[in-house]
């Protein structure tokens, strides 16, 4: 006579040690004789073990940045001192940069004017608006850096300033080129790129200040390494022991 297999629900309960002793012994005895049920139990066990080994998953950094910006926008941390000011300015700068990004997207969707003079006027006006956004972001970021003067080592500050000077030169040259040839797309792009580079360098400088303030020297070194490779705005001449 063929022995009946227990239902899989009972095997699940056996696995969880949820059966009363009599039923437990009964299943155990069946398992001793039935390879098919042993295999089923082994599969269920593997699932339990596999699940317990599934690791946590680190979210991308941008999620925290969004959360922090949202909280600051709601002024949730308005009374928490200098760190609050730090995040407030970062959020403000982020909002301004978002404005520039939207402008760049919308610019591509604007229907072209019918004559060259109108086109030139429109481009100049839009460029001025984008510049103004970048300038405001830069002012906000520079204020935070000024408030945290002395946090970074002197030698590193000096290198960062040298790199800022290089970007400033590029901004000046682009503005001169635009003054000589206002419709030059290359000059306009070059100015916007230089402004973007400046914002990136300032933002990274603030993140660096933050890591140093938190005593996270290793994070600061990683960040400096990333700054060396930042596309469009790599910093150069970094000292061998920057922190």
């Amino acid at each position: 006579m063929t022995e009946e297999h227990p239902e899989i629900e009972r095997l699940n309960e056996y696995l969880d040690q949820g059966l009363d002793p009599r039923d437990h012994r009964q299943i155990e005895s069946h398992l001793g004789r039935c390879e098919e049920c042993r295999r089923t139990l082994s599969d269920l066990s593997a699932i339990v073990r596999g699940a317990s080994e599934l690791p946590p998953v680190a979210p991308p950094e941008k999620i925290w940045e969004s959360i922090a910006a949202s909280l600051i926008e709601r002024k949730s941390f308005s009374k928490s001192g200098s760190r609050s000011a730090f995040f407030t300015a970062l959020a403000a700068a982020a909002a301004l940069l978002l404005g520039v990004s939207l402008w760049l997207v919308m610019r591509g969707e604007t229907p072209p004017p019918t004559n060259q003079a109108a086109l030139a006027d429109m481009v100049t006006e839009e460029l001025r608006a984008a510049e103004s956004h970048y300038d405001k972001a830069i002012v906000g970021l520079e204020q935070i850096i000024a408030q945290n003067d002395g946090v970074l080592p002197q030698e590193l500050t000096s290198v960062l300033n040298q790199n800022l000077d290089l970007i400033e030169n590029a901004i000046g040259e682009s503005r001169s080129a635009i003054a000589g040839e206002p419709q030059s797309t290359a000059a306009q792009e070059s100015l916007l790129q230089a402004l973007r580079s400046k914002v990136t360098l300032l933002q990274n400088t603030i993140l660096l200040i933050n890591e140093v303030r938190k005593g996270q020297g290793e994070n600061a070194l990683d960040l400096i390494d990333e700054m060396r490779k930042t596309p469009g705005a790599p910093i150069s001449n970094v000292p061998s022991n920057p922190i």
Binding site: V48, R49, G50, A51, L54, P59, I63, L71, F77
Partner: protein
């Protein structure tokens, strides 16, 4: 074991005790640290809330990814969950650990999202498994296969299975989080395991 910090209250039960859990001393220390961070956050310290986020977001994000099977949705939900947690901190009484409380918010937010996504869920074919870091278990079950199979479970079974076997909560805690009886939690987990076995055998 892969249980995150957020499950510091998790207790083994039955067959699950095969797998080691953090010692109760570790759990107590982590809970005390969380309590302190919660208190500092209530006083308006962004740094403390950031620390809570750093400690718990990998566990919550793992849960959201596995529940929603869609990375973009999981990122949105993670952000919503922590903003919601921040808003609700004043009503957090500390009767459970912060991690347990956060898991409760998280799983229910994921279930709400799945409900609102409704029928559309079935048509979502974005491959999730390459985003998840499942790894081979001792028994030879490939983590990635398991991640994929979990995505085929009905939402309630998926939630109970993830809370019990991945996060390590016992059935009483899972029941409280999902608003169901202990027996229902067990039944959902058993059904999930049975279904996973079928999916993995295909």
């Amino acid at each position: 074991m892969g249980s995150p910090d957020a499950v510091i209250e998790a207790k083994p039960e039955g067959g699950v005790s095969l797998f080691p859990l953090p010692s109760s001393l570790d759990r107590d220390a982590k809970r005390r640290e969380d309590d302190e961070l919660v208190e500092r956050t209530r006083r308006g310290e962004m740094e403390a809330f950031e620390a809570l986020y750093r400690r718990h977001s990998p566990a919550v994000f793992g849960l959201a990814l596995r529940m929603l099977q869609n990375r973009a949705d999981a990122e949105d939900i993670l952000q919503e969950i922590f903003l919601q947690a921040y808003d609700r901190l004043p009503s957090f009484e500390g009767r459970s650990a912060f991690g347990t409380w956060l898991y409760r918010l998280s799983v229910n937010r994921c279930l709400d999202h799945l409900r609102s996504r409704g029928a559309k869920e079935q048509s979502r074919n974005e491959p999730l498994t390459p985003e998840l870091p499942g790894r081979a278990s001792n028994a030879g079950l490939r983590g990635l296969e398991l991640e994929r199979a979990i995505g085929e479970l009905p939402p309630s079974s998926r939630a109970a299975f993830l809370l019990h076997h991945v996060a390590g909560f016992d059935h009483k805690e899972v029941g409280e989080m999902l608003g169901i009886a202990v027996g229902t939690s067990k039944s959902l987990v058993h059904r999930a395991r049975t279904r996973l076995k079928e999916v993995l055998a295909r």
